[in-house]
């Protein structure tokens, strides 16, 4: 077990290094941060001085090694745009993103499961068919369009929900949360739905397919024959057996919810890490971009690692393999 974990962790570190190096190479094509830093009135001498100070004239591998060396010590450098430590900036904005991802995952799970069960039970009903068709929108429309559509309907036309920002936040033990006030809850609703819509449709279709599969099985028929109520059959017996794949998929999707919050955050002016990243791209703020990409890379690696470990726990063959080699 331990050897397996160590092997996976080493592989994960390798992946992170590659992610870091590729992103570093890409930054070279993004333009020159010096222009943005100095403005149009700067002199040649100031430009030279700044380039030297930022170490921009060094070859890419040298810059990369320097970055990794500092990153290992927890120092991600200073943001060019905001002139503050990158780790501080990211930590400051991470709660907003995590909370948004969490709320949208909850919405996606709750609605996805309920609608999935509903469409599976009432397979040929008008409502079920309507939901199935409408869910295509969730899969096919790009996130920014859904966001703008929701803003148009719920903020501009109906005036029910705010179109931007976090609204009132309440602090719990240093964690600024939207979930503590009415205004904060109203503010998080639209971005969370926008972000979670794709996942919701995915979960709904998954639950529906699994439910249809399960409902055909003999034990459901026997349960019905025993005279159990429909509710007990559908939710007590059928749904329970569909949840294993749903939980797996949701876990994996959580990573992409956090990573793909970029678009939602910039549409709704949500002050999270994704929004920070977009602003940094415009400004060629290399330290922030590098740290963000590493963070997202690490997130995916960690999630995959956990999944791998779970497989190890679940699948006895992996264990017996190792035992056999003794």
């Amino acid at each position: 077990m331990l050897a397996f974990v160590i092997r996976r962790v080493l592989q994960a570190l390798g992946v992170l290094l590659v992610v870091g190096f590729i992103s570093f190479c890409m930054f070279q094509f993004m333009g020159d941060p010096v222009e943005g830093l100095l403005g149009q009135e700067a002199t040649e001498e100031q430009r030279r001085e700044l380039i030297e100070r930022l170490g921009l004239e060094d070859p890419i591998p040298v810059q990369f090694v320097r970055f990794v060396g500092n990153a290992v010590q927890g120092d991600f450098g200073l943001s060019y745009r905001l002139a503050r430590p990158v780790s501080e900036l990211i930590l400051e904005r991470l709660p907003a993103t995590l909370e948004l991802a969490f709320v949208s995952a909850i919405i996606a799970m709750a609605l996805g499961i309920v609608l999935g069960v509903f469409t599976a039970i009432n397979r040929s009903g008008f409502a079920a068919n309507f939901i199935m068709t409408a869910s295509l929108i969730g899969v096919s429309l790009p996130t920014f369009l859904i966001g703008i559509l929701l803003i148009y309907v719920f903020s501009v036309q109906l005036g029910w929900l705010p179109s931007f920002g976090r609204g009132e936040t309440v602090e719990f033990f240093g964690w600024r949360s939207n979930l503590g006030s009415w205004d904060g809850l109203r503010s998080i609703l639209l971005p969370a739905i926008t972000l979670g819509l794709y996942q919701m449709t995915l979960i709904m279709r998954l639950v529906r397919a699994e439910m249809l599969e399960v409902l055909r099985q003999d034990y459901i028929r026997f349960a019905r024959a025993r005279g159990l109520s429909e509710r007990a059959v559908n939710f007590g017996h059928a749904l329970k057996n569909t949840l294993v794949p749903v939980v797996t998929v949701t876990g994996l999707q959580l990573g992409s919810i956090i990573a793909f919050a970029i678009v939602t955050e910039s549409v709704f002016q949500w002050p999270g890490v994704g929004f920070l990243f977009i602003r940094s791209v415009e400004f060629v703020d290399v330290p922030v971009m590098a740290a963000y990409l590493l963070l997202i890379g690490a997130l995916f690696v960690v999630i995959n690692l956990i999944v791998d470990l779970l497989y190890f726990v679940i699948d006895p063959r992996l264990r017996s393999d190792r035992a056999g080699s003794h």
């Binding site: 333009g31 700044l50 905001l82 002139a83 803003i151 148009y152 501009v156 179109s163 931007f164 929004f275």
Partner: protein, 531 residues
């Protein structure tokens, strides 16, 4: 009947007068949004538009530009050149207090100006001509320049005054060192003399200001806004949606395609004015051969007839109508109208005449035209890439085949700075409102101190000398003559292909009375409301 009517009228009059009284003391909260946020609260650490806008609400300089762009007194009541042409004398306003209660005196003015000249200050270039700042008495300050500097007041409009005692006590004598990630007390705390004081601030999220109850300008400015809630909204669709849904009262940077919609909506209006920024194309006319074209051994752009023909081929009014939806002010010169040196004659542009332009091309030996690459930004100016696309078609009509290379500003501008482009788009604003600024950066040949953005490679010793002489010429008439002479050369040489001045749009609620400021700097102390 009559008596009831009279009493009713009396009651109505009474309530009306009450209404007047209550509105004048009623809290008017202004919810304001624009694309970007202020980068720092340290008033000397960044020379950047949104940073100055926020600072202007809290801090004040010796003088400032009003909503029409005219220079008006702020913390100085008047100023003039002394008998020594190198020394300007400023008389300071008396009885002004900082938000923290400290009195504003000559010591603070001297300290602030010296702070703005320190190496970590971003404002030091504007004070490069200053040799010394001296206190004469408690309310008089002398500024001595290296040579006579007729434009010194123009460079002080964003030079904010801080309190010496407070800044020193908080260990922030040096401005925030932005390039090295420096941090000081002034980055997050404010203590100005301005009409508004900081209540709370979360960078990139929300800033709340409230009216300064002890502001010296009471009676002089409307001061109807009692609270400002400032939220940057970067996405333009979201920003407009916030205005349409009534979540904000005032926005800057209204996207061109949403102007009509915002204007048509009941309760909202869009106010427009020419912006202090001209959009134009630059051409490498100085090199003997260029790389971006398909002509071997010579540079077609070096021939003034080619440049004139290209200028004539560009249909500015079509660009205004089709690309800008009417939101531009076509021009034939690279400065906006309010800049000193501008004349209607300079701004006149030729009627597009393809036949005549083709004849000039043939004259220059390019009857069959040539091909060239045009470098263009796609995220810097209003519809920048679309303007370039329109120009591609227009220049194609006279045989100039243009290959468009549109890319983000971070990649585009280094091409100009490093002289790696032969044909490019550039936009230029003129913060001091004087032609000298444009000449220094765009007309003077490139040296260590001048011509850093002159991508034309134009180099004319006579013009260079004339440009340099402007800095110290105190005789306004002689100076304006020299400016005029330089412009004549720029125009006859067709150094640049001017397109238009950008138009600024501010969207706001109908009951707000506010003119668009040419520098895109709203000063909320001037805002009034009609109910």
């Amino acid at each position: 009947m009559t008596s009831t009517l009279t009493s009713r009228l009396a009651i109505a009059a009474l309530t009306a007068s009450f209404a007047v009284v209550t509105t004048s003391v009623e809290a008017e909260t202004l919810r304001w949004a624009r694309a970007g946020d202020s980068l720092t609260l340290d008033p000397h650490a960044q020379n950047e538009g949104p940073t100055h806008t926020l600072a202007h609400q809290i801090y004040e300089g010796l003088l400032q530009r009003d909503m029409a762009g005219e220079i008006i007194p702020a913390l100085a009541t008047d100023w003039a050149v002394t008998d020594d042409p190198k020394v300007w004398r400023f008389n300071l306003r008396q009885g002004v207090k900082f938000h923290g209660g400290e009195e504003f005196t000559a010591d603070d003015a001297v300290f602030s100006l010296k702070r703005a000249m320190k190496p970590t200050s971003a404002m030091k270039e504007l004070l490069a001509s200053v040799a010394d700042v001296r206190k004469v008495d408690d309310y008089t300050v002398d500024i001595e320049t290296v040579g006579p500097n007729p434009l010194l007041p123009n460079n002080l409009t964003n030079m904010f005054m801080v309190d010496e005692g407070w800044t020193t006590a908080n260990d922030a004598v040096e401005p925030q060192d932005v390039a090295n990630g420096g941090e000081n007390y002034l980055v997050r705390n404010t203590n100005g003399t301005g009409a508004f004081m900081m209540v709370s601030r979360a960078p990139d999220e929300k800033t709340v200001l409230k009216a300064n109850p002890d502001y010296w300008g009471k009676g002089e400015f409307p001061l109807e806004v009692t609270e400002i809630i400032y939220t940057p909204i970067q996405n333009s669709a979201t920003r407009v949606a916030a205005l349409l849904s009534g979540e904000v009262d005032f926005i800057q940077d209204v996207p061109v395609q949403d102007l009509e919609r915002a204007d048509a909506q009941e309760g909202l209006k869009v106010v427009k004015a020419p912006q202090n920024r001209t959009i134009f194309f630059g051409m490498n006319m100085g090199d003997s051969d260029i790389t971006a074209d398909n002509v071997e051994g010579k540079n077609p752009l070096a021939d003034v007839r080619v440049r004139k023909a290209m200028n004539m081929a560009i249909n500015r009014e079509a660009i205004q109508k089709v690309v800008m939806r009417g939101q531009s002010d076509p021009t034939g010169v690279i400065i906006p109208p309010f800049v000193n040196g501008w004349t209607a004659e300079l701004a006149a542009y030729p009627t597009p005449d393809i036949a005549a332009a083709k004849a000039m091309m043939a004259d220059a030996g390019y009857a069959d035209g040539f091909a060239i690459r045009l470098d263009c930004p796609n995220d810097r100016y209003i519809n920048d890439e679309a303007i370039c696309q329109a120009a591609v078609g227009m220049l194609g009509q006279i045989g100039v085949t243009v290959n468009l290379n549109a890319q983000p500003k971070a990649q585009h501008f280094p091409l100009i700075k490093n002289k790696e482009t032969d044909f490019y788009m550039l936009g230029w604003g003129v913060p001091p409102f004087d032609s000298e600024y444009v000449f220094n950066f765009l007309v003077h040949s490139t040296t260590d101190k001048y011509g850093s953005w002159n991508g034309t490679r134009y180099s004319n010793a006579e013009i260079d000398a004339l440009v340099v002489s402007l800095a110290t010429e105190t005789d306004t008439e002689k100076r304006n003559l020299a400016i005029n002479k330089i412009w004549e050369t720029v125009q006859s040489e067709q150094l640049y292909l001017p397109i238009h001045n950008q138009i600024l749009n501010w969207g706001m609620k109908d009951n707000i009375n506010f003119d668009v400021q040419p520098e895109d700097q709203p000063h909320f102390k001037f805002m009034t409301f009609s109910n």
